[in-house]
Symmetry: C2
Subunit: 234 residues, 2 copies
Amino acid sequence: MRAGASVFEVPPPRDERELLSRALALEGRTLEVIAAEVGVPAPGSGLRAKGKVGELIERALGARAGTASVPDFTHLGIELKTIPVDDAGNVQESTFVCRVSLHDADRAEWDTSAARAKLACVLWVPIVVPRDGSDRRVGRAVLWRPSAEEEAVLRSDFEEIMGTIGIGGIEGVTARAGQALQLRPKADSGRARTLAFGAEGERIATVPRGFYLRTRFTARILESTRVTSPTPIE
Amino acid sequence: MRAGASVFEVPPPRDERELLSRALALEGRTLEVIAAEVGVPAPGSGLRAKGKVGELIERALGARAGTASVPDFTHLGIELKTIPVDDAGNVQESTFVCRVSLHDADRAEWDTSAARAKLACVLWVPIVVPRDGSDRRVGRAVLWRPSAEEEAVLRSDFEEIMGTIGIGGIEGVTARAGQALQLRPKADSGRARTLAFGAEGERIATVPRGFYLRTRFTARILESTRVTSPTPIE
DNA sequence: ACGGATCCATCATTGGATCCAG
DNA sequence: CTGGATCCAATGATGGATCCGT
């Protein structure tokens, strides 16, 4: 217990096994309980809490959220993502992946992209949000690496979207493009602007964008490892 | 040309081939043109036209719609269904199959049901409804008989729904039941009533119901024979 | 009441906008 | 400006209601 360090601070996990085992140990605990254990105020529900949950779980697993420029478990090559699910385990939201640089999209390649690096290995920690408004709890964590099929879809989406941006078509790209990966605004407001190029090569100012995983893509990842299978015939 | 008969009257088709060939020949024609050819006023678009389109196509194919108690192509064992689709060929609506007798549902069996008979062989005639409001046209007709898999789904839905009604559970059956076949009101208004039985065997008055095919089930039937495949990866 | 269907208010989905801390 | 995400108004899907002619 050194001066200046919280008595509750969790050390970084030494390896993948330790990280996963810690994450699995959180299953069933409410966010309030976990917050108390790591010594931070409990994140409020709803407003004023975006991003707080992710930071709480990072801290609980030893990522020392918000204290340095080295987030998540970079030393293990693992990305942490919390993901809201309902009582039945259904994924409720899309997942932010990374920002997209619009001004040099013509040189982007999937194999060397930030998107691919972020998605190479993800520790998914479901946050169960009960419909009746009772306390949020942690669900069963899943450590995921894309299958060949999944990566093929991601690559295809990436190339389609970046290709369109690369030829000056950013203004024609909506969140409807992409089976798994989609492009959406990533800014504090719709008035934020960043540099891009138009169809004639002219400089244009447009809202910053980021890649997101569609809800249904993440849903499949979590379903494939769920204990009770809902057997969807359709 | 006999007295009393329309000069435009189409004779009944002699066989399946002739019927299908006539239906395929309608592809691309607008409803207005077909109406003029068979000598009836063009069905209005939207309101005041429910059912009119089906009767127009019946007449154009030789079913003599609305003139007798023998509709469709009973002599060939073929049911005609017009089905609205958008410009891209996407099915827009569910399809009425038949009314359901609620008071003797406990004795109903799929093999001898009106629903199975109606769906044994269907000539689907797509009606293309352009989004821009331009004239409706006939699409490419499809003659369909359920595959073993399709019939298994239909049978399962039928048995589940009729089973529930049979034990007095009609008031618990909503249009959410059934993968392919669903039960919905079939009446001129929500105040119409017919005889059924409740959970204690008591007589109850409830809104008349009918079987309908879900939009997505019909969509698959038409997709499976569509020339240009949209390649849905998901 | 039956047989031909479509209409439309309500619910579910989701694309685009936004929130917070460092 | 970045990394952590959720919010919510507008669009889409569909369950229940309805329309017409015989």
